[in-house]
Symmetry: C2
Subunit: 405 residues, 2 copies
């Protein structure tokens, strides 16, 4: 199941960035499960990685390589996460990098490996290495759509976002893909996301941009509260447009950052819309908090409450469960009589109880929709936070009782 | 669904404590939904209450009354939580206390009200008041089993525990009942539990005992991570046995505390066994932590992970999800290579990956059981914590998509 319309967007190629996809037969024969990406010489890349202590072998290696060299290739396999695999997992990830280096004629340290899929199984290195030349020969600047398919696991849809804008009189492009559908609660980054632009950006600036963008996008979604061992969000700048961010006036720099953020938010929201078993796309908006931390605590407590999530699945305007979730969030000395809760535009609770104006029919009309906004006014400060989540359905249980992540 | 054997234990009456149950027709006509309990004059009572900021009106009133007077009566209704009801909810709870006071010929302030059921609906005060005389006239020291039924909501079984022991040459009794099946993650106390003993105890000592017992029992269970608005655990000491705890030798005091703790743990575990949709009873035991906080963080992160819970439902020894949950718990500078994970007595993971000796058949044999122990050795300190939980099944979704809590 998935929420919202299933229309893959037009993907503008990013000069200086190529993608090639192949079938390595890692888990399902014939499925596209191996993606190679090539960054033009002189391009830059920055990333944000899972904070999970059991971070996967490829993530460990990517973090090491990105600091030591100028990466030229990204290799992503699905069907196997190469996580919970100890030292042999790191050896396997290194072997993939070395093989990619041989195919491309560069050092293995210039390769960044990524894996997603089942945890704890040995990576089928031979099959991956055997398919690398095929993915390499498929490299093309128009390879985005194949790559969007090639990185999926339990996802039911490919996820992409693309935009062109005019900077310094030239057309520049930002294009990205992501994957993820379960084990989704980012902590600094989430799942896999690759965004490329042909704007020129220094490494340090690139890191700031990806940190900020991830924080306002992938770090604001949750499907099941589970943080993956393999989360990575990568931002590539090829510079091939000839436009350098440093040389732009402040206003155009802001336009670029805003466009970049929109791409990240779109990719993050597409992950939620395709959340495992999702029948609802839910925005939880908390305003009037004293600080960001308490707003996020309220938002995540509501978003991750199994009781709120099952009520959303049932389209039941059961606002009592929302109050109960707010009440157990980490907000010091919360004055419950000051809290107001809206479903869409309908005020449902205030003064510690049901709003006088509220009718069940009003709440039901909101809950019957596919996209629902829960708005919580704490009325004790000026800070707001927004996160996105899904409901909890039979299909979530089915998918996760039958699939090995 | 429920786990383990369904045999209600022999309930020893507690001299000085009576229970009477009636049908008030609060939600389902003919169902036992109103329980009155009477504490003999000179008895003492202490309790622990939910930390939910949206704490229900009856909980607010019970907390006020218990500090001001010597309570003589407890009135519990199911079918309506009288939570999220604001000022009118408090007026309704006060009306029930006043009516009980009139029936019993005592002040309304000597009555402690308790409610459980749907949140946010007005309490049907008239029906409750009309049924109070019937419950009052049913008061009997042998009323425990009826009361165990009368406090249930989505529970599928009554929950009781009872023990007699010999202190100072006399026989004393501890007997208790509890309810709860969903919205279960205690924060200081949980759901409803009433335990009575005929041992004599000062109020201050009683409070210490109930705090300690709750902390090691109801505060160590989780079904869905949702903390109810109405949680209360109450301990009554009638003194009718003539045995006063103060006058006992240290060894006998310890025997009493140990027996009391066993009753609390049994009542807490019965709630987990009857968890909504539960097909497994799961113990998560974390040892070798640096402090209690990090042990509990690991234990709760594993116990509340929807991915771990659905794997348990599927009887799938998917230890990768356990590692992923440990990895996102709040443990500073966790050395993942030092962590060892056991399923039952089977070592499944160490050195960051699958244990060399582990076979899938071994893990499967453990997962096929109804009662499963996940043992996590952090190997960085001397602190241990144990919590109890359930799996996440289709029926959990069904119950909570169809029922209004």
């Amino acid at each position: 199941m998935a929420v919202g319309k299933d229309s893959f967007p037009k993907m503008y190629p990013v000069p200086g960035f190529k993608l090639g996809t192949a079938s390595a037969g890692i888990k399902t024969p014939g499925r596209k499960d191996l993606v190679v990406m090539e960054i033009t010489e002189g391009g830059a890349i920055a990333g944000v990685f899972t904070k999970n202590a059991f971070c996967a072998a490829p993530v460990q290696l990517t973090k090491a390589h990105i600091g030591n060299t100028s990466p030229r290739y990204l290799v992503t396999n699905t069907g196997n996460a190469n996580a919970g695999t100890g030292e042999s997992g790191r050896e396997n990830a290194r072997a993939v990098c070395q093989a990619m280096g041989q195919v491309a004629g560069i050092a293995g340290e210039a390769v960044l490996p990524f894996s997603t899929g089942v945890i704890g199984e040995p990576l089928p290195v031979e099959r991956i290495i055997a398919a690398l030349p095929m993915a390499f020969s498929a490299l093309s600047e128009s390879g985005w759509q194949d790559a969007a398919h090639g990185i999926l696991t339990t996802d039911t849809r490919p996820k992409g976002a693309s935009v062109q804008l005019s900077l310094a009189g030239k057309t520049v492009t930002i294009t990205g893909v992501s994957k993820g559908s379960g084990m989704i609660k980012p902590n600094m980054a989430t799942m896999l996301a690759y965004v490329a632009t042909d704007v020129g950006l220094e490494q340090a600036m690139l890191q700031v941009l990806v940190n900020d963008a991830v924080n306002a996008s992938f770090n604001r979604i949750t499907i099941d509260g589970d943080t993956s061992t393999n989360d990575c969000a990568m931002l590539v700048a090829t510079g091939a447009s000839g436009v350098n961010i440093d040389e732009l006036p402040a206003e155009e720099q802001a336009s670029f950052k805003s466009a970049l953020l929109d791409i990240f938010i779109s990719l993050a929201q597409q992950i939620v819309q395709d959340g495992e078993g999702a029948t609802k796309f839910v925005t939880v908006h908390v305003t009037g908090g004293a600080d960001s931390s308490e707003c996020l605590s309220v938002a995540y407590t509501v978003a991750e409450s199994p009781l709120v999530k099952t009520a959303l699945f049932a389209s039941d305007p059961n606002w009592g469960r929302i109050l109960a979730a707010i009440g157990r969030a980490d907000v010091p000395d919360l004055d419950v009589d000051a809290v107001q809760v809206y479903l869409g535009d309908v005020l449902i609770a205030e003064q510690g109880g049901r709003a006088g104006s509220y009718t069940e029919a009003q709440g039901q009309a909101v809950m019957d929709q596919d996209e629902i906004c829960i708005r919580i006014l704490l009325n004790r400060g000026n800070v707001s936070e927004t996160i996105w989540t899904t409901d909890l359905s039979y299909d979530y249980v089915k998918i996760n009782a039958e699939y090995r992540t």
